[in-house]
Subunit: 95 residues, 7 copies
Amino acid sequence: MLKPLGDRVLVEPLEPEAKTPGGIYLPEAAQEAPREGKVVAVGPGRVTDKGELIPTGVKAGDIVTYTKYGGNEIKIDDKEYLLVDSHSLLAVRED
Amino acid sequence: MLKPLGDRVLVEPLEPEAKTPGGIYLPEAAQEAPREGKVVAVGPGRVTDKGELIPTGVKAGDIVTYTKYGGNEIKIDDKEYLLVDSHSLLAVRED
Amino acid sequence: MLKPLGDRVLVEPLEPEAKTPGGIYLPEAAQEAPREGKVVAVGPGRVTDKGELIPTGVKAGDIVTYTKYGGNEIKIDDKEYLLVDSHSLLAVRED
Amino acid sequence: MLKPLGDRVLVEPLEPEAKTPGGIYLPEAAQEAPREGKVVAVGPGRVTDKGELIPTGVKAGDIVTYTKYGGNEIKIDDKEYLLVDSHSLLAVRED
Amino acid sequence: MLKPLGDRVLVEPLEPEAKTPGGIYLPEAAQEAPREGKVVAVGPGRVTDKGELIPTGVKAGDIVTYTKYGGNEIKIDDKEYLLVDSHSLLAVRED
Amino acid sequence: MLKPLGDRVLVEPLEPEAKTPGGIYLPEAAQEAPREGKVVAVGPGRVTDKGELIPTGVKAGDIVTYTKYGGNEIKIDDKEYLLVDSHSLLAVRED
Amino acid sequence: MLKPLGDRVLVEPLEPEAKTPGGIYLPEAAQEAPREGKVVAVGPGRVTDKGELIPTGVKAGDIVTYTKYGGNEIKIDDKEYLLVDSHSLLAVRED
């Protein structure tokens, strides 16, 4: 498996079809429109100039809203994933 | 529900029609013109290079003036919301 | 009323006509030309990476010279105001 | 009178004609060419992220060389002045 | 051999052909698409304004996903390598 | 005379003709090509956010190589000088 | 001789012809392609906002790989050299 570096997060995009009743719908118009996905793996965080480690603020299993802008698409075993910078994570679903 | 990450704030835009007598009117000309909305949920804040958490300065229920510039539109249960960076919050209504 | 957030200042523009003899005249040519206005409300200030609060340096009632660049126009009860970033405040009138 | 804010300086431009023999001549070609002027009033200085106040380094009465780039022209009692950011002050005349 | 300076990493690109069953496939469309490679040598890290050394977070032998953007191609004994800034390293393979 | 402000340095350009045998020749093609000059006066240095003064690293009389990019041309008593930011000083001649 | 200032390094480019068998070959296509050279002289380093001196990390005699981007070409006694910012040094040869 892949372990993200820095403050990156490996995200498995949720199928837009899968989130209909009561779920969150995100416009597909713009390429930069926010999307939803499931966090698969999380990097250690950002190391500041002070040598402090700032964690990403999310954990594996979280359903996050993110912008594709700043993310890198990769395929693992024919499945599409994104490596998203934690600054591109906008929100997390709460139950 | 959605929990914003970082210093983002989830805002429900107020209908321009709803704010007539004595209310605040905001020009609709430019896309970047400031708008009013109600804060629905608030992120924990911005973590600085020192590891300090700077809160967003607003709370759920606040009526805020914000610029759409830097905000991300999302739909939850067919209702439109914005995830706004706290730097795009300009002012809060006081009673 | 509106309470500015961060280091923003709510400014009521002075009518150019109102400032003739002995007053300060500001060229109207460029959109970015400095203007004069009266401070109506003041945000708490800018929070630094250290968590320190840097106040805006002006107070309600001050007559300030500001650049419109970086300011946001809003209307309150049909009157035009500006939410100006404190970095766009250039000077304050002294008696 | 006007009191500059931040690290701005109020400058009264010297007439190019006034500085001929032994004086400093500055090319007029480019708009950004440096000019000479007399400091009329000085802002308190720049407040850093540490909360430290860094003074402008000049005082009223100083004859300074400055670039107009980054300065704002204003008129006080029909006389032209500039509000110049202290970073645009290049040098000061020494006797 | 080459010793990278700063927070740079010397990477030997993996042949796209070599990573088929169960491996990670990366789209070749865009020039900036992420690629996989083997870390050959690692710089000491980034020196912060405090004089602190922040290591790169990877070690020789690691299989990393990286973006070519920000990398410099060089040839050593007719073999192609990349000197990649550690900020361009996205993830590392875990067994 | 002029006293530079901040980390600026007043430089008297050396005539390209004057530096032929054994001297340093600098290409004249590009406007940004480095030039040689003699340091006439030196500003106090750059004040950091901590309030620390970082001196320019050169002294009056030094022969420096500099880039004109970032420098401001001025004339004093009909002689051309440059006010150069210390970041535009590349090297100093050693005997 | 020239003493580089700040974190600059004086580099004597190696002739591409001189580095054939077992040596490092660098593509000549792009202007920004990395090159090899010999360090002739080294500046004291970069002074940070903390007043700390960060040395360049190389010494005279080192064979370095560098990008010409960010470097300044100069001629000393008819021989071409480069003044390269230490950030443009990518790697150093190890025996």
